[in-house]
Every structure is written in structure tokens, then in C-alpha cells.
Symmetry: C2
Subunit: 191 residues, 2 copies
Amino acid sequence: MTGSKEKDLAAAPGTSRAQKDATVAPGTGRAQKDAAVEPGDSPLHLDRFIPYRLSVLSNTISMLIASAYEREFGLSIPQWRIMAVLARYPDLSAVEVAERTAMDKVAVSRAVQGLLSSKRVLRAYDKGDRRRSILRLSAAGQAVYTRVSPMALRYEQELLSALSPADQRTLDRLLTRLMDQAQSMQASRDS
Amino acid sequence: MTGSKEKDLAAAPGTSRAQKDATVAPGTGRAQKDAAVEPGDSPLHLDRFIPYRLSVLSNTISMLIASAYEREFGLSIPQWRIMAVLARYPDLSAVEVAERTAMDKVAVSRAVQGLLSSKRVLRAYDKGDRRRSILRLSAAGQAVYTRVSPMALRYEQELLSALSPADQRTLDRLLTRLMDQAQSMQASRDS
DNA sequence: AACGAATGGTTACAATTGAAACTATATCCC
DNA sequence: GGGATATAGTTTCAATTGTAACCATTCGTT
């Protein structure tokens, strides 16, 4: 079936060959490849699309940081988030942790199980409401946290060092605004 | 086993009960809950941590938009990305698509299979190199794209409408800088 | 007190994703 | 020409994640 099926698609002359470079820097002289579509013809360009760029940026950063404390402490992102919130607010229940970490309760349950078995979190149950758990870092968990958190903050600082202090403050403000807007869009959809 | 195990953890007086509100607005007068930890005692506060905020923001937006074109066109995020890039650059191979969509080749392979079976993408093979595929939108795929992309752009606009035009330009600039920095951090780690 | 609804949390199962192995073709080098 | 090596893409298997169902307990109502 290699016979004659390709021809209608392998149309553009000089298309198939060429191209050794991975990034295809624009403006390299020969611009034949994209001949069929004028830039601007297509209304949406992925590289300019803010949701896409946010997603790629966020994934890049998360993987960068996560791989560091995964490698060094065997912590997953959910586990690390839980430790961070328990470090500041001990004795939260699982749902309270979920609210503060933007995770759902299933994710919290699973991550807590991991933290329990690695003995980094202790769990008790509320006397007055025996459904509620009461979570806090163990001494070992505290110790891990005091080593992980400076590392995380260093990564953040290194990232932000690409921005002037003024731009850093602006970023903070823009993120807050965008988050508010995103939440209101979500709320209006769910209404 | 409900006997006496909880006591060592359910320590803080008045801790277990109380708390009806989900968000625990700071500065509500009674600040007993967090008694054990002074704010500032813990070096890292998740709500202020840029990588965390980026992640939550990005996920919120992605889910918001994705659920729309999933519901209306049965498109997943990877499929939608591929269509967007093929709309602008027809006749790319799978790895070229991967490069332009920040996806790996396995993800592209799977998404392309979906797009092939829904007849929204056509695949041919390069005459000169029979490993290379040549992908482009079908007429039906084009038609879907011309309906999806304005929708995506409307979402983006609605999101950005929370920012002044000047702030929108600033956001663009900051995202570029941060992405460059993230990539250079990644590169220096892999080195 | 007793029944139905709500809440906290876990479990089970399906769908998605990631990593490694694999097939097929092409290139390099002798 | 013929083996080693690289590249394009798919498949396979394991791990992660999402969704729904599920206990247990508590609350609200009568």
C-alpha cells in the first residue's frame, strides 16, 4: 500500500527534504515550507495564545522544581503541597488541606497516605467529630520541610531574577487579577 | 481502636471544634487555630509562591476552555493543539508538530490517531523519506477549526479583559522573559 | 429517637499519561 | 555493499489521575 496514495498530500515542491535544525528559526531566508498559509490567514497562533503559553510555562517550571525534590526527598507535587500547607497551618483536616492546595479530596487522601507511610505526617481524629482527621507534620516531616522549602524558594528566586523588582511586583498583581477573572469565568459558567 | 490514640495530636485546646467557614479569612479576630505557627515562621506560603500560582491559574484556564471544545466538538487538548498548528502550518510531520506544540511524540501519535479516526486530519507519507508522515487538516478539520478558534480567542479575550491594554502588553513581555528563564534553568540543569 | 440528607474520607474502576521497548526506514562510514 | 547508528513513529506496560460509588458519622427534621 505504498503505491500511489501519498501524492495528493505530498504536494508542495521541496517540502519533504531539508530541515535539519530542530527549532526552525523564522526568517532564515527560505520560507517555502509554509507557503500554503499566509501568516495572519489563520486567526490563532499558538505561540501567541496566552492560555497555551501559561500552560507551557507552568509545566516547565513545575517539572523543573518537582524533579528536584522528587529526586532528593522522594516527594511528589501533591505531597509537597500538603507539607507546605501543614507547615504553616498544623492540625488541618483533609478537606481543609484540599481547599488550601487547590487539590480535590481524593488527591489529598492519596498523598496523605504516602506521607503517613513515609512517617512525615501524623494523623489523629477529631474527638467531637470522628470523621474529621487532624493532620500535622511529624518531627521528621518538619525536618524535611525545612530543607525542601529553601530549595523551592531558591528556584522561585532564580526564575524571578529574570525580572526587575518592579516587574516582579507587576507579575504578582497580574497573576492575582487573572486568577480572579478565571474564577469568575468559571463561576459564571457553572451558574 | 478509638480508645486513646488521638490525644497526643488533638492537643491544642479548642482546636477540634469550631470552623464552619471554608476560607478562614485572615484577621477575623479570633486567630487561635493557627496558634502554633506564627505567620512568617514558615518561610514559604503557598498562596504567594509563584510556581504554585502559575500552576493553579493555568489549570483553571485550561480546564475552562478545554471543557468547552470537548463538549462541543469532542476535542481533547492535544488534539486541539495539533489542529491549531496544522491550520497554520500544513504538511508538518509528527515530530515537527511535537516541536511546535510542546508535546512529546507519543502524545502526538495518540492525538493524531484520534484525529485520523474522526477524519479531521489526513496523513500521507513523504516520498523521499518513507518514515516521515505528512499531516494536514481535512476539509472537515478546517471547518471545525474555523469554528473552534474564535471560541478559543473569545475565552482569551474575556480573560485578558481583566487587564488594561498596557497590562496586557506587560503580561506578554513577562511571559516571554519567564519562559526564556525557565528554559535556561532547565538547560543548565541538563548540562 | 429515628429517618433522610449532608459531610469526611476511602476505595474501585476507567481513562490519561509517561517511559521504555520496538519496527521500519534512513544515514554514516568503512 | 554492509554493518553500526540515528531518526520517525507506534506499541506496550506501569504509574498517575479522574469519576463515581461507597462506608461511616453527623446533622436536620420531625
